[in-house]
């Protein structure tokens, strides 16, 4: 109970800080649209190749947006040395961590809420329930992992670069399985999505449990 209220307080504090800038959602939306524009220029893109390329663009954008979002999750803390002040309270590090992951995941969901319709609109691919659920399920696991490593790298040097380094390898399962699900959902590739979905759920559970077990080693020292 106490842990839950701490997690919520942390998430609320993060979102309030973001909200002060008032521009978060529009900025994310524009970032996403720009990524699509760039993808369009980079790839030789037409109606024939769209279902093959669109999932790749979706995941590349999501991965980079995620890295930005999770990097930001601990940015305010490390710049102002307030992380230490937060850790020097009796609050459980795992609860603090959960709060930060929650806030970051919400930001990523906002990002997806823009990315998916934009992708459907601009790339003219169908947007099915399978696609949305695959993306959301992948978000959970990606968020806990991303925050774990963001917390770790916030305390070392060259963190902007270290974050992708630690995070990307562990995101790969989500990208591979989620990518498959999305490709099928968009009409390319083969095989069912139900197995992919249950695999994503398994992965989420695995990483949430693992992360909550190790969070205190990362945040406390």
């Amino acid at each position: 109970m106490r842990s839950l209220s701490i997690a919520l307080a942390v998430a609320r504090k993060d979102l309030a800080s973001e909200w002060r800038t008032r521009e978060l959602v529009p900025a994310l939306a524009q970032f996403v649209v720009l990524a699509l524009v760039i993808a369009n220029f980079g790839f030789q893109f037409d109606s024939r190749t769209a279902p093959a390329i669109a999932p790749g663009v979706l995941w590349m954008t999501l991965v980079f947006a995620g890295l930005v979002a999770f990097g930001r999750a601990f940015a305010a803390e490390r710049e102002q040395a307030s992380l230490e002040a937060m850790l020097l309270t009796p609050a459980a590090p795992a609860a603090i961590f959960a709060g930060k992951a929650l806030a970051a995941a919400l930001l990523l969901v906002v990002c997806e809420a823009v990315l998916l319709p934009a992708l459907a609109l601009f790339f003219n691919v169908p947007l099915s329930f399978e696609v949305v659920s695959a993306v959301l399920l992948a978000t959970i696991g990606m968020a806990v992992l991303g925050c774990l490593f963001a917390a770790m790298v916030a305390r070392v040097r060259a963190r902007e670069l270290l974050l992708p380094l630690l995070t990307l390898p562990l995101w790969i399962p989500f990208i591979v399985i989620g990518g498959q699900a999305v490709q099928v959902g968009m009409g390319a590739g083969s095989g069912g999505t139900s197995s992919a979905t249950s695999l994503l759920i398994d992965l989420d559970i695995l990483f949430v449990v693992l992360t909550s077990l190790v969070a205190r080693f990362v945040l406390d020292d």
Partner: protein
């Protein structure tokens, strides 16, 4: 009764009246397009608002340069007003174009050079307004925004010439090439004149709002300063 309206209100009324006139030309005077049917009537506002947007962004550019050069707050306020109004007209062009595209091309969007560059234009000036808001108000916001406005204007010629530089789905120049029937041309020119007037009025009103906002801030400060000083003088 009219005497109670100030110059801005009169101008706004005039602009609205003119837009009604333009609507008359668009829907009554102009002939129906043989191939496309009624949807072609989007053309008039679609193109006019694009040109109005170019004009607004030119105001942003010039206002920015003048501000950097002379530090003239008037120039900055004009630029601020121009960016917002220009963004509105870009939005109109985009939305009109997308509505037009659905029946003609069978899709709302395609990655065509004209369409893409227009979308980028929208994003650039949305970014401009965002810089304004996030930077420290005053000098820093004005300077940063001026720099964005100068770089951002590069996209305006790109949008305009995109149809000649690249092979596009979007139609190429028709007005300049005399490809319009005379009645359509008249309707277009009148719509454009009215739209440009509307844009000018919107900029003027927005400019006025900026002036009043700045003055209001000054007045609040003056009030805040006056109170303790009076208290001090009785000491």
């Amino acid at each position: 009764m009219t005497s109670r309206l100030n110059v801005f209100e009169k101008a706004a009324l005039g602009a609205v009246a003119l837009m009604v006139v333009a609507a008359g030309f668009i829907f009554v005077f102009a002939p129906q397009d043989a191939l496309q049917g009624p949807v072609q009537r989007i053309f008039y506002l679609h193109v006019s608002s694009a040109i109005a947007a170019y004009g607004c962004f030119a105001v942003v550019l010039i206002g920015g340069i003048v501000y950097l050069w002379k530090e003239n707050p008037t120039a900055d306020r004009l630029a601020r007003a121009g960016a917002l109004v220009g963004l509105v007209f870009t939005t109109v062009t985009l939305v009109m174009g997308m509505i037009w595209a659905k029946p003609i091309w069978g899709t709302f969007w395609t990655w065509d050079a004209r369409l893409t560059s227009t979308l980028v234009l929208w994003i650039i000036y949305a970014g401009y307004l965002m810089v304004r808001r996030l930077a420290e108000p005053g000098r820093q916001a004005a300077r940063f925004a001026a720099v964005v406005g100068i770089f951002g204007f590069i996209d305006v010629p790109v949008v305009h010439f995109s149809v000649t530089w690249w092979r596009t789905v979007h139609p190429g120049p028709v007005v300049i090439n005399d490809a319009l029937p005379a009645e359509m041309l008249v309707a277009f020119l009148i719509t454009m004149a009215c739209t440009l007037f509307l844009a000018a009025v919107m900029i003027a009103i927005r400019y006025r709002i900026e002036v009043l906002t700045d003055q209001a801030a000054d007045r609040i400060v003056a009030a805040a300063v006056a109170v303790p000083s009076k208290a001090g003088s009785t000491r």
